[in-house]
């Protein structure tokens, strides 16, 4: 243990609190203590995270072998991901206070919810590939109880699927780590890569293969084709607040791992123009298109949002695969925007389920009469995801498209933006019907069910509405004033490319 101990606090605090919540009998019996402690810890977590981000530095936790150490550090990428995680985790935590009162065994949800927060912080702070892998595996395990929460037959099956895809993906990635450990001094993240040319001589083919394995392997968490199958099964069975963080932040852990591997260990220059890059671009574009199509055809709202995640996270991966600074900045900004937007959408879906019990989109006709404020927030977020200026999605897609056009990747330079445009249309097609049918149900709509059940004007409680509102506002404001964020991302891009 040597270095800046402040980095340890955002990891240890929520994990300890989570264990206390799981073990303490008082939290099982008394809801006030449970939610009070959870929200307090999440607020404190936000403060501690920012303190750690400001103080910076690094911390060596333990030495596994001479070459392999568990080490934390703070750089620009960890700042971006950690700040996002801490802020969003708090908002969803506040939402859960009200939402989870409708579910059983809340203490288990909050316990693991807190633990995952600590583990994700560890992932964001990781200073080398081994540390990243350790936290990555821990994240799979600790987020599993969130998927399993309902403990129904369906949930168990989804949990198993989640687990097997994750384990298979992680082992694919592990193969790459074993290879990279052999051709570098250590696996510490350094902008531009750490591999040594002399050790690599004659092993270029193997390098590309292992890079490909790692991208497919870590891409599992990001829902990238061909290992995306678990995502639409696992996300919707969890409680809405868990689906939100699974979709909005845990998929981003896969993105973070890929950023670290490609830009901080291997180095983008070794991959540019190879078959690996071309296959990667192809996979991301396929995923973008396929995810949108599946979402368009899906009638169940939470599943539709999960398919949308498959598609949208691959926007980010597409930006990364171009190995171009503009596209890189676009990809990272889409990490932030998609996370904010997808949380807003999933939380809305949860609010609808809790208030009305409706799960299918066609049931939601006339929703505007039930919860106009929530639906307005939903509409803002949906428009942002479609990419209507001046909302945030527009900014990231602009950078992605202009990066693609100037990337010099041959045919992909124009196929990419075309796919993004088609997918944006599909996004409008699967998100906006809820708004249209909700606010303008048409003349023939009498709203008998709404009258009969007394649902008119029945907004969800403020605990739920406020986080949705904040997220929707963020989706709007980040699009209007993206300047400082984009300039930070461009400085990251300049350092790695």
């Amino acid at each position: 243990m040597e270095g800046n101990m402040i980095l340890l606090l955002p990891l240890v605090l929520p994990i300890l609190a989570g264990v206390v919540v799981l073990a303490g009998k008082v939290f099982r019996e008394n809801r006030k203590y449970l939610t009070g402690l959870s929200v307090a810890v999440l607020v404190l977590e936000l403060v501690l995270t920012f303190q750690a981000l400001v103080s910076g530095g690094s911390l060596t936790m333990i030495r596994l072998t001479d070459q392999l150490t568990l080490e934390l550090h703070i750089d620009q990428v960890s700042r971006l991901f950690a700040a996002l995680t801490a802020a969003v985790w708090l908002l969803v935590g506040i939402y859960s206070v009200s939402y989870m009162s409708h579910e059983e065994e809340e203490h288990r949800f909050f316990g693991y919810y807190l633990i995952v927060a600590g583990v994700l912080m560890g992932l964001n702070f990781s200073a080398n590939l081994i540390t990243l892998y350790v936290f990555y595996e821990l994240m799979t395990l600790t987020s599993l109880p969130l998927v399993l929460h309902e403990r129904s037959r369906e949930a168990v099956r989804a949990g198993l699927k989640y687990l097997f895809y994750s384990v298979a993906g992680a082992f694919l990635a592990l193969f790459g780590i074993f290879f990279l450990a052999g051709v570098s001094e250590n696996l510490t993240f350094t902008a531009g890569g750490v591999l040594s040319d002399s050790a690599l001589a004659g092993k270029e083919g193997l390098l590309l293969t292992s890079a490909f394995c790692m991208i497919v392997g870590f891409g599992t968490k990001a829902g990238m084709f061909p290992l995306h199958g678990w995502l639409p099964t696992a996300h919707p069975v969890a409680p809405a607040s868990a689906s939100a963080v699974l979709s909005g932040l845990i998929t981003k852990a896969g993105v973070l791992a890929i950023i670290r591997v490609v830009y901080y260990v291997i180095g983008p220059d070794r991959l540019r123009g190879t078959w690996m890059q071309n296959v990667w671009i192809l996979l991301t574009l396929l995923t973008v298109f396929m995810g949108s199509m599946l979402a368009y055809k899906e009638p169940v709202m939470k599943k539709r949002l999960a398919y949308s995640t498959v598609s949208q996270v691959s926007y980010v991966l597409f930006g990364l695969s171009l190995l171009n600074p503009t596209a890189f900045a676009g990809a990272l900004s889409h990490v932030v925007f998609h996370s904010v937007i997808k949380h807003a959408l999933f939380l809305t879906a949860g609010a609808i389920i809790v208030t009305t019990g409706w799960t299918r989109v066609e049931q939601m006709r006339g929703l505007g009469q039930v919860m106009p404020k929530t639906l307005a927030c939903y509409t803002v977020a949906a428009l942002a995801l479609v990419g209507i200026p001046p909302l945030s999605g527009f900014v990231s897609k602009w950078y992605l498209a202009s990066g693609a056009l100037s990337s010099g990747t041959g045919v992909w330079a124009w196929v990419g933006p075309a796919v993004l445009l088609v997918s944006a249309l599909l996004t409008a097609g699967y998100l906006l019907p809820l708004t249209i049918q909700g606010f303008f149900p048409g003349h023939d709509f009498k709203g008998e069910e709404i009258e009969k059940r007394g649902l008119k004007g029945k907004e969800p409680s403020w605990w739920m509405l406020a986080p949705i509102g904040v997220l929707a506002a963020a989706a709007l404001l980040l699009g209007c004033f993206p300047g400082s964020l984009i300039s930070m991302l461009q400085s990251i891009a300049a350092s790695v490319l």
Binding site: I62, R63, L64, T65, D66, L68, I130, Y133, V134, E137, L138, L141, P145, L148, R151, V156, G159, L160, L163, F164, V167, A168, F171, L172, L174, F175, F178, F179, A181, G182
Partner: protein, 499 residues
């Protein structure tokens, strides 16, 4: 001669005499004697290890006053010391954890017999670790077999009788082959002590004479010990034996007995036949192929099992495959990985067997998936223990299994022809491990369904010994996973001393 140098001899004799004394004691006293003896021998082994680390070299200990090339010798070095300590710890915890179940499963009048078998088992394991003499090795291999049979048979229930007979037949086949190998070796070299035999073997290989007998020796000794350690496809005795014995016996048999034979085989490879000769004669490739086949097939069998005890036993087949795969890589890195995996597997498999007992206790002593549903809530500590063991087997970071896999994979990168198959089989085997172990872990933590049969009234909580043993096993696993560096270094130094 330093007094400490007597310790290996003392520990073997102490274990044997405890067995003899136990024959006139009642069960309770025999049990206490056995536990005390295991603790003392472990301490003696620690003394030996410290001495070897201090002097930086191994030593041979002459039994009686017949100098080499006659007589009977013991040899102690770093690797022997580490292994003996490790075996002692696992043995102690396995006996401790299964204490009350042993008392239940075994007739009261025969309880002391059980502990005699444990004592003899430890003495034979220590002798296999320390011996520098092939014939002594053979004698203790037989003692080990008999003790093993006794441990299985003493629970006179279910299929334990037929399991013991099967174990006996397979083991005798193995020892028979081993004996044939020794006879031919004695015939061509004229020696039974390891060091002079080694010199003769080198001369024979250099002269190019007796090439076919040498091949036969390698093959017969290798296969003989492979049968006894349960390498695929010689594994038929494993599931019944581990599946129907009393918990202590299962843990000892799967965790230690097969490892004792593997350790002996490694010792013979290095100290008698010469590892380079094995590599050049392609024998290692045979072991390698058996090893990687076992890694996959063992896991596939395990997936088909619904009885969790047998599933864990089949997983041993896969793990033994890992060890032989490492030995078959033909590099010193591979051997280090194999030896480390011996430790990993002993610690983890014993943990799994012992903590599974805690889960069966709260499920009406049933061992199938459906009865175990929700058992992780009924016995939290056993659930955690089983989860840790399962994660370690799958190769979860910070646990011992991860370090094993890391060592295997990095050593595979050193041998160009075997790299790809090794990595692929490691990947497949890991995924298969995950399928059956994590499926069971999730079952342990899923809700019981209304249609499930009610759980019969069983004991309220596990005995403190079982809980202590589970905690200690988890600790051993974490130590191997987090502080592997000194252990790996000791293995490396110890293997260098073998050479």
């Amino acid at each position: 001669m330093n007094f400490v140098q007597n310790f290996p001899f003392f520990s073997i004799i102490l274990a044997m005499f405890s067995g003899i004394v136990s024959s006139v004691l009642d069960g309770r006293k025999a049990r206490n004697l056995s536990l005390a003896m295991i603790a003392v021998t472990t301490a003696l082994s620690a003394g030996t290890l410290l001495f070897c680390l201090g002097s930086g070299e191994s030593y041979t200990f002459m039994m009686g006053h017949f100098p080499a090339p006659w007589g009977n010798e013991i040899r102690a070095g770093i690797l022997e010391g580490v292994t003996a300590i490790f075996f002692g710890i696992i043995m102690f915890l396995a006996v401790l954890g299964g204490l009350d179940h042993t008392a239940e499963d075994v007739e009261e009048k025969k309880l002391n017999l059980f502990y005699i078998m444990i004592d003899l088992m430890l003495s034979s394991l220590l002798a296999l670790v320390y011996t520098n003499d092939l014939f002594t090795a053979y004698v203790f291999v037989e003692i080990n077999t008999i003790a093993g049979c006794g441990l299985i048979m003493i629970r006179q229930k279910g299929r334990s009788m037929s399991a013991a007979i099967r174990y006996m037949i397979m083991s005798q086949l193995g020892s028979g082959l081993f004996l044939i190998g020794l006879s031919i070796l004695y015939d061509v070299t004229g020696h039974l002590l390891m060091s002079p035999a080694r010199e003769s073997v080198e001369l024979l290989v250099a002269a190019g004479s007796y090439r076919i007998p040498m091949l036969v020796i390698m093959a017969v000794i290798g296969v003989g010990l492979a049968i006894k350690s349960g390498l695929y496809p010689f594994h038929y005795w494993i599931p019944d034996t581990y599946g129907y014995a009393t918990p202590t016996a299962s843990a000892v048999l799967s965790g230690l007995v097969s490892k004792g034979y593997i350790f002996l085989l490694i010792k013979i490879f290095y100290r008698v036949l010469g590892y380079d000769n094995l590599v050049s004669s392609q024998m290692v490739n045979v072991l390698y192929v058996f090893g990687i086949t076992g890694m996959v097939m063992g896991s596939i069998h395990a997936i088909h099992e619904t009885d969790t005890r047998r599933m864990t036993a089949y997983s041993s087949v896969a793990q033994i495959g890992y060890i032989y795969m490492g030995m078959g890589l033909g590099t010193s890195y591979g051997m280090v990985a194999a030896v480390f995996h011996i430790f990993t597997h002993s610690a983890t498999k014993a943990l799994l067997f012992i903590s599974a007992v805690g889960l069966y206790e709260v499920s009406g002593d049933k061992k199938d998936y459906i009865s175990l549903r929700g058992a992780g809530y009924r016995n939290p500590l056993a659930g955690i223990g089983f989860t840790v063991g399962a994660l370690s087997m799958v190769g979860f970071p910070m646990l011992s299994g991860f370090i094993s896999k890391l060592l295997f994979a990095t050593s595979a990168l050193e041998s160009p022809h075997k790299m790809l198959p090794t990595i692929i089989v490691l990947a497949v085997s890991t995924t298969l491990n995950a399928v059956y172990f994590l499926r069971l872990v999730i079952t342990l933590y899923s809700r019981r369904r209304p249609e499930d049969a009610p759980i019969p009234e069983t004991r309220a909580r596990s005995s403190w010994q079982l809980r202590l043993a589970i905690l200690c096993f988890i600790g051993v696993n974490l130590v191997l996973g987090l502080a592997s560096q000194p252990i790996v270094q000791a293995i490396r130094d110890g293997l260098a001393m073998f050479g």
